[in-house]
Point group: C2
Chain length 349, copies 2
């Protein structure tokens, strides 16, 4: 049996964008257009995930995937207590609680009613967990940001690696989110894909900052089997993107990495809240829950300076197009880009 990647009409994977943008309609539109749609399970209960899977199945008969947040360990209160106290002086905050994002129940659900691809971020499932998903008929894709993570995932049984470059919007998929590691900045996508293809033989799905057909062509040329694209779909009518973010990404605003909103490093449009909390602690999901009320309030008020506006580095190029049409345009322009590149004289003597 071939891999899902081999059967796609076009090598475009919809990046799972938890917390709003990812909808069954968006996933179905990308799958119907020949790409691979994705449901973002992050922040959902297993029951809600089940509903979304059913709604997607009702919309398309094409394959799609489900992305899970791999659970982190709980953080000791002393790592985040002072930060939450500090925030509470100025903003409405929630209880900084811990949960596993319903991991066990989601695995049960996906074993009982499997989908073609289950991808993970924030860590690598154990070999037994991967075996269980394989037995249910699913491929398991793991998000990696380094050669060491890639080797670990291959060893555990991953069928494909989602190579996340530094350019990517939203959360870093890095297995261990340690502030002490921040001095070493993340690998750019091109460097990462070159390093991974030299180190492992598992198919690679490149992600991070790919917003154009030329970007897709570059990912394929670098050695990826497909590109996972998120930010470029944020302005599609099928996306559940908050109006604030839908407008904000059209501007030239630079992005930055921050832990201020969720306690896990993520890339978003630079705003005051990020700038004022450069040393926010690594404590996910505790900080995610603590900042929930302040983010909700900012969204209601239309205040772009106190809400996470996750976006990749090339966000300003995201077009306003139906998702299927965007898949078609990205594909056409990727082919053109490859042909143009091949027309350059390339012959060292």
């Amino acid at each position: 049996m071939g891999m899902v990647l081999d059967e796609l009409g076009t090598p475009i994977v919809l990046a799972p964008m938890a917390g709003g943008p990812s909808t069954p309609e968006l996933a179905a539109a990308v799958s119907d257009a020949g790409g691979l749609g994705f449901i973002a399970a992050g922040y959902l209960s297993a029951a809600d995930l089940g509903d979304r899977i059913e709604r997607t199945r009702a919309l398309t008969s094409a394959p799609f995937g489900v992305n899970l947040f791999y659970p982190s360990a709980p953080s000791p209160t002393e790592t985040f207590g002072a930060y939450v106290t500090d925030l509470a002086r100025e903003f409405p905050v929630g209880e900084p609680r811990y949960d596993s994002d319903d991991w066990d129940a989601k695995l049960d659900l996906l074993t009982a009613a499997p989908v073609p691809v289950v991808s993970c971020t924030f860590g690598c499932p154990s070999a037994p967990e991967i075996t269980r998903l394989h037995a249910a008929g699913s491929e398991v894709w793991v998000t990696v940001t380094s050669v060491a993570e890639a080797k670990y995932a291959v060893e555990a049984g991953a069928d494909a690696l989602i190579a996340q470059g530094s350019e990517a919007g939203g959360h870093r998929g890095t297995f261990a989110d340690r502030p002490a590691d921040d001095l070493t900045d993340p690998l750019g996508l091109l460097a990462l894909v070159q390093l991974l293809t030299a180190a492992v033989h598992t198919p690679i799905v490149a992600t991070g900052g790919i917003t154009t057909g030329a970007g897709l062509a570059a990912a394929l040329s670098a050695g990826a089997a497909a590109a996972q694209i998120g930010t470029a779909f944020l302005r599609c009518p099928e996306a559940g993107t908050a109006p604030l973010l839908r407008d904000a990404i059209t501007l030239d605003t630079p992005t930055m990495l921050t832990r201020a909103f969720t306690g896990r490093r993520a890339r978003g449009l630079r705003n005051l809240f990020m700038l004022e909390h450069p040393d926010a602690p690594a404590a996910y999901p505790e900080i995610h829950y603590a900042t929930g009320p302040l983010r909700a309030a900012a969204r209601t008020e239309g205040n772009a300076d106190a809400v996470n506006l996750w976006a990749g580095q090339a966000h300003s190029l995201a077009p306003e197009l139906p998702a299927g049409e965007l898949v078609r345009q990205l594909s056409e322009s990727a082919k053109d880009a490859l042909k143009r590149a091949l027309s350059i004289r390339i012959q060292g003597c």
Copy 2:
């Protein structure tokens, strides 16, 4: 008259690597193989630069370029005094002096005895300076790291833009090196090239982390007219790479950005000196001169923990090959990568 880029046998530009690696032999070998060799004028007097240009001319009749450091403004002593005092407690240090890297004399030299391409880093020459170089028959290429810098350079009259992605080894070419800007991390190469091709029509030379033919193919697919490649040439016999660096880049050591060695942000292999001075000031070239003796001592002692080991993020893939053979292999494998990418089914329906 066509541009130099249009006449190359293969779209490979040798990145100028000042301070040792760049030699006339390396530049000539790359130019002879159909690429564009480069002389790194940084840290040299105008007289020494003149010698290197003559030696290169004696070695090849093919075109080559010269790269200049655009002079920064002097930094007030209070920005760097405490850092130098601190270093002096532990290391031999030099006088933290200022100079323009002999800018005026180098411009005079290049106007009197022009080369086909003059490139700049650390800033954009003024429109009159560019006009003067044009009048001498040279193209002027400017290193940029953002859309704003690209528009500035195009307005000033640049003939091509060297798009430096975050992955690049050595100094960032950023016009203004401000620590306050560090929260916004640099654009990865793929994001940068996509943003630049959407914003300007000037030819782009992509640089940063390109160490393989697949990486070269990716840069071309993204829309670049050529790739500027440095780290991949560090282990060539023609390169003047210090033995310490020649060995160190074969390891998996991560890289990081630092101002600790020169007072200007640069990427190198992570070592103790960088980790111990994460907040080194922005004061180039003052810090470059202050750390000269300690870097020289470390090099003599073979101490990799107290010397700058500039390298791009994909450094471990640099092969040990004669430069001409490397140009040939990169070219062949780039063509293969483009053909392989074109063989993928790409057709959104």
